[in-house]
C-alpha cells in the first residue's frame, strides 16, 4: 500500500539542498556566482571591458549550447543509424559506418577543432560568413563534430541495456514499432537522467574546448586565423594583452601583498575572465557528478 503523507514546506525547502541533490545545489551556486561577478563588474569594471566580457560570455554559452544541440542531433542520428544497420543482412554497411565513426573518433579533439577553425577562418576571410552570430553557431557546430560520439555511446548503451529486457520484448510482440520503443519507452521514459547528465558534461566540455582553441588561436598558432577574425569568447578574452597583464599581477601580488586588493578593483578583466571560466567548469563538473550520484547512473 502506498500513499503520500503531507510534507512540511520548510522541510521541503531544506530537502532541496540535501546531499542527494548536489546537482541542484551546484546549479544555484553557479548561477548565483555569475550574478555576483556581474554585479561586481557593474560596480568596478570599466564599461567597454564589461560589455566585451558580457559579449564573450554570451558567445561562449551560445557556442556551447549549439554544441549540445548539434551533438545530440548527430549522436541520436548516428545511434539510430547504427541500430538500423545492426542486422545480419546489413553487416557490411554496419561495419562501414562503424569504421567511419571510429576514424572520426581517432582524431584528437583539439586537432579536429583546429582543422575546423581553419575552414571557418577561410569562410570568414572570404566574407562568405559575415554574421558574428552565424560564426558562433558554426564554431559550436564544428566543436560538436568532435564530441557527438559521446552522445552516440550513451544512446547505444541505453538501447543495449534495455534490449534484452522483457519489457522491450513484451512491447515488440504487442506489435509496437521498435523505433517507438527505443525513443519513447527507452530514451524518453528511462534515460532522461542519463541524457541530461551527458548534456551537462558536453556543455562543460564544449566551454573548455572553445576556450582552449580560442586561446591557442589568439596566442598566434597561425597567421591565417587571428583573434580579430572571430567574435570574442572567454578564451580569446583570456588571451588578450590586457587580461595577460592582469593575470601576471597575481604573481606580483604573491611577493607584494599590498597589490592584492588591486586585483579585485583594477585588474578585473583578466582575473574576472579566468575566474568565470574556471568557476563555470568546476560548477558544471559538480552538477554532472551530482546527477550521477542522485540518479545512480
Amino acid at each position: 500500500m502506498m500513499s503520500d503523507t503531507r510534507r512540511h514546506p520548510r522541510r521541503q525547502f531544506a530537502s532541496f539542498f540535501l546531499p542527494d541533490r548536489k546537482d541542484l545545489l551546484w546549479t544555484v551556486i553557479w548561477i548565483g556566482g555569475l550574478v555576483i561577478v556581474w554585479v561586481w563588474f557593474l560596480l568596478f569594471l570599466n564599461e567597454p571591458a564589461r560589455l566585451r566580457m558580457q559579449t564573450a560570455m554570451a558567445d561562449t554559452l551560445l557556442s556551447a549550447g549549439t554544441v549540445v544541440v548539434s551533438a545530440f542531433l548527430m549522436g541520436w542520428g548516428s545511434a539510430m543509424l547504427l541500430h538500423l544497420l545492426d542486422r545480419p543482412k546489413r553487416k557490411r554497411l554496419y561495419l562501414a559506418a562503424t569504421f567511419l565513426l571510429n576514424l572520426l573518433r581517432s582524431v584528437p579533439q583539439i586537432i579536429g577543432m583546429l582543422l575546423g577553425y581553419t575552414l571557418l577562418a577561410a569562410l570568414v576571410r572570404g566574407e562568405t560568413m559575415r554574421s558574428e552570430f552565424l560564426q558562433v553557431l558554426a564554431a559550436g557546430f564544428l566543436t560538436s563534430l568532435v564530441v557527438f560520439q559521446e552522445v552516440t555511446d550513451v544512446i547505444q548503451e541505453r538501447i543495449r541495456h534495455y534490449r534484452e529486457m522483457d519489457f522491450v520484448s513484451a512491447l515488440l510482440v504487442c506489435g509496437v514499432p521498435e523505433f517507438t520503443i527505443i525513443n519513447r519507452e527507452i530514451l524518453w521514459k528511462n534515460s532522461v537522467a542519463h541524457l541530461v547528465q551527458k548534456a551537462v558534461s558536453v556543455f562543460g566540455r564544449a566551454i573548455f574546448l572553445v576556450c582552449s582553441i580560442d586561446f591557442i588561436i589568439s596566442v598566434g598558432l597561425s597567421t591565417e586565423v587571428s583573434l580579430t577574425n572571430f567574435p570574442p569568447t572567454l578564451g580569446s578574452m583570456l588571451a588578450s594583452l590586457d587580461s595577460k597583464q592582469d593575470i601576471l599581477v597575481i604573481g606580483s601580488a604573491l611577493t607584494e601583498p599590498g597589490l592584492l586588493p588591486s586585483l579585485f578593483f583594477e585588474h578585473l578583466q583578466g582575473i574576472g575572465v579566468a575566474f568565470v571560466t574556471v568557476f563555470t567548469l568546476v560548477c558544471l563538473y559538480r552538477i554532472s557528478n551530482g546527477l550521477v550520484e542522485r540518479h545512480r547512473l
Binding site: 500500500m1 503523507t5 513484451a170 510482440v173 504487442c174 506489435g175
Partner: protein, 496 residues
C-alpha cells in the same frame, strides 16, 4: 494464543504498510495469502526483525522497531527462528560453497545437514544435490529452484535443532514465497517437510504465499494438520490494508465447481502446430500428449482452443514459448502457423512484420519485468497499435474487465512502479487481451494474483477463447488448469 501486531512501515514521506491487528498464532502455522507487492514480505520482515534498510522507518505496536526488537522474547524468537527469503540469492553468500553455508553458525550443530536438505530433492535427484553442494552460488548457478530448496533446507535444519533442544516453540520461522521457483513435486516435498518438522517442535510458522493450491494439498495429504493451520488474506481496503480470515472452503468449492470447457470452434486445420524435436542450448525438447499419453506428438492448437503445456520447473516451457513467438532462436525447430511453415532459418523480421501484435502475442510471466515501470497505466495501453486503446473511454473499458470500476480514474493515472504485483499482472494480461490476435501465449498468467483476481482472470481467458482465439497456456498451477482444461488439450514438455 493469538498475538496481535500493529505494523507501520514508511520510507521517507511514503507510507508503505499500515496494518492494524495483524494476528499470529504462537506455536501454530499461519498461511498468509494476498496478491504480490501488497506488503506481505514487509510484514514478515518487520515481525522477524530484519528491516535492515536504513531508509525504512518501522513501528511495531506503536514503538520504534529497534526498541521492539530489543525485547528479550522478540530477540529469542529471531535467534531460534529462521527467515527464508523470497529471492534466495540475497541470503546465500557467493564467496562460500553451499555445503559450507549449510554448516555455518548455529547450523554447525546439525549432525547431517545433507540428509535434512536432501529431503527436498526426489530420490532420483540426490545426485543433482551432490553436484551443487561444492558450488559457490552465482546468479545463474545453481538454478533459482535449487537455491530456494537449499535455503528451505537450512530452515529445516534450524527447526530440527530447535526441536531437539526443546526451543522451537520460541522460534519464529518465516517462509516468504518459498515455492515461487519450485515445481509441483518439489513444492509438495517442502510442505511434507514443513509439517514433519512442525510435528516435532511446534514452532511458530508464517508462510507467505499466493499459491492457493496449498490449501487442497493440506486437506488431501495432511488433514490432521488442519487444526494447526490458519489461513489469512491481506487485502487492499480503500486506502489501507486489512487482514481477514480466508475460508479454505471458498477456494476448494470453487475448484470443485470448475468444469473442463469443451471448445466449440475446434475444427479444421490447426492454427499452430509445433513439431517435437526442437533443439536449443544443447537440449532436444519434445511434446508428450495429449493428456497422459507418453507418445511423442506435435503440439497442436486450433482457433478457440485453450491448450495447457506443463513440465517440471526449468524444463524449458518459457524457452519454447519464446521460440514460437520468434524472440528466441532455436538450433532446430519446425512449426506451422496459420498455413505458413516456419523454422530456425526463417527471418526474424517475418515475426516482427507479419505476426507480432497482428496474429500472435504473448504475456510474459513476470509482470514486473514485462511492463515499463516508468509508464502510467494508461500509457501502457495507449502505446498499443489498436484503435480501442487510443481513447480514454476505450482504455477505461479495457481496464474495467479486470479492475474495479471505482478505482479506474486514479488507477489509470498511476505509474506502473506504484502498482502492487497483482495489479501489474492484471495490466500485463490486459495489454495482450486488448490486441485482437488469433493466437495468444500466456506464461504463468496467475502469477502474483489473489484469489478474487484469479477467478476474474480465468473468466477473461475463457472470454478470449470463446471469441475464437487460440491460446497456449504455461503454468505450474496444475490444480486449477488441470481442472479447467480437458486432457485432450494438455501436453507435457519433455527433454528427449
Amino acid at each position: 494464543m493469538d498475538e496481535r501486531f500493529d505494523i507501520r512501515v514508511s520510507s521517507g514521506s511514503r507510507l508503505l504498510v499500515d496494518v492494524r491487528g495483524f494476528s499470529l498464532r504462537r506455536g501454530e502455522i499461519t498461511l498468509l495469502f494476498g496478491e504480490s507487492g501488497i506488503g506481505k514480505s514487509l510484514i514478515g520482515k518487520a515481525l522477524f526483525g530484519i528491516m535492515d534498510d536504513p531508509l525504512l522507518h518501522v513501528e511495531i505496536n506503536g514503538i520504534d522497531a529497534d526498541r521492539y526488537y530489543a525485547a528479550p522474547e522478540v530477540a529469542a524468537s529471531k535467534r531460534d527462528g529462521f527467515f527464508v527469503f523470497q529471492e534466495p540469492s540475497s541470503h546465500l553468500n557467493p564467496l562460500e560453497t553451499l555445503d559450507a553455508q549449510m554448516r555455518e553458525g548455529d547450523l554447525a550443530a546439525c549432525d547431517d545437514p545433507v540428509r535434512v536438505v536432501g529431503t527436498l530433492w526426489g530420490e532420483d535427484e540426490q545426485r543433482d544435490l551432490a553436484r551443487i553442494l561444492p558450488v559457490f552460488p552465482t546468479a545463474y548457478r545453481p538454478s533459482g529452484g535449487e537455491k530456494q530448496r537449499i535455503l528451505i533446507g537450512m530452515a529445516f535444519e534450524k527447526m530440527e535443532l530447535a526441536a531437539s533442544s526443546g526451543e522451537q516453540r520460541r522460534g519464529l520461522f518465516v517462509f516468504d514465497e518459498p515455492t515461487g521457483s519450485l515445481d509441483r513435486e518439489a513444492r509438495d516435498r517442502f510442505l511434507d517437510g514443513l509439517f514433519g518438522h512442525y510435528r516435532h517442535g511446534k514452532g511458530t510458522i508464517l508462510l507467505i504465499t499466493h499459491d492457493y493450491s496449498m490449501i487442497g494439498y493440506v486437506r488431501k495429504r495432511h488433514p490432521a494438520m488442519e487444526q494447526h493451520v490458519s489461513y489469512r488474506e491481506l487485502r487492499r481496503d480503500g486506502a489501507g490494508l486489512s487482514l481477514a480470515d480466508f475460508r479454505p472452503a471458498d477456494y476448494l468449492q470453487w475448484l470443485e465447481g470448475i468444469r473442463p470447457k469443451v471448445t466449440k470452434h475446434v475444427s479444421g486445420p490447426p492454427l499452430l502446430s509445433v513439431e517435437s524435436g526442437l533443439r536449443i542450448f544443447g537440449k532436444k525438447l519434445g511434446f508428450h500428449g495429449p493428456g497422459d499419453s507418453r507418445e511423442r506428438s506435435h503440439l497442436e492448437i486450433r482457433s478457440g482452443d485453450l491448450v495447457y503445456l506443463k513440465a517440471r520447473s526449468g524444463a524449458g516451457k518459457t524457452t519454447v514459448a519464446k521460440i514460437i513467438i520468434g524472440l528466441q532462436r532455436a538450433d532446430y525447430f519446425r512449426m506451422n502457423f496459420d498455413g505458413i511453415r516456419l523454422g530456425e532459418v526463417s527471418p526474424p523480421r517475418y515475426w516482427e512484420k507479419k505476426l507480432w501484435g497482428k496474429k500472435m502475442t504473448m504475456v510474459f510471466q513476470h509482470a514486473d519485468e514485462a511492463l515499463n515501470l516508468k509508464s502510467t497505466v494508461e500509457q501502457s495501453l495507449a502505446i498499443l497499435p489498436v484503435e480501442s486503446t487510443q481513447t480514454e473511454e476505450g482504455r477505461r473499458g479495457i481496464l474495467a474487465s479486470l479492475f474495479d470500476d471505482g478505482s479506474l480514474p486514479a488507477l489509470a493515472r498511476k505509474r506502473v512502479s506504484y502498482l502492487s504485483g497483482g495489479q501489474k499482472q492484471r495490466l500485463n494480461l490486459l495489454r495482450a487481451f486488448a490486441l485482437s490476435t488469433s493466437f495468444l501465449i500466456l506464461d504463468e498468467p496467475l502469477n502474483a494474483l489473489d484469489f478474487r483476481s484469479i477467478t476474474r482472470v480465468l473468466q477473461a481467458i475463457e472470454r478470449r477463447r470463446e471469441l475464437g482465439q487460440g491460446i497456449l497456456l504455461i503454468s505450474h498451477n496444475e490444480d486449477i488448469f488441470q481442472a479447467l482444461i480437458p486432457p485432450e488439450s494438455t501436453y507435457t514438455l519433455v527433454e528427449e
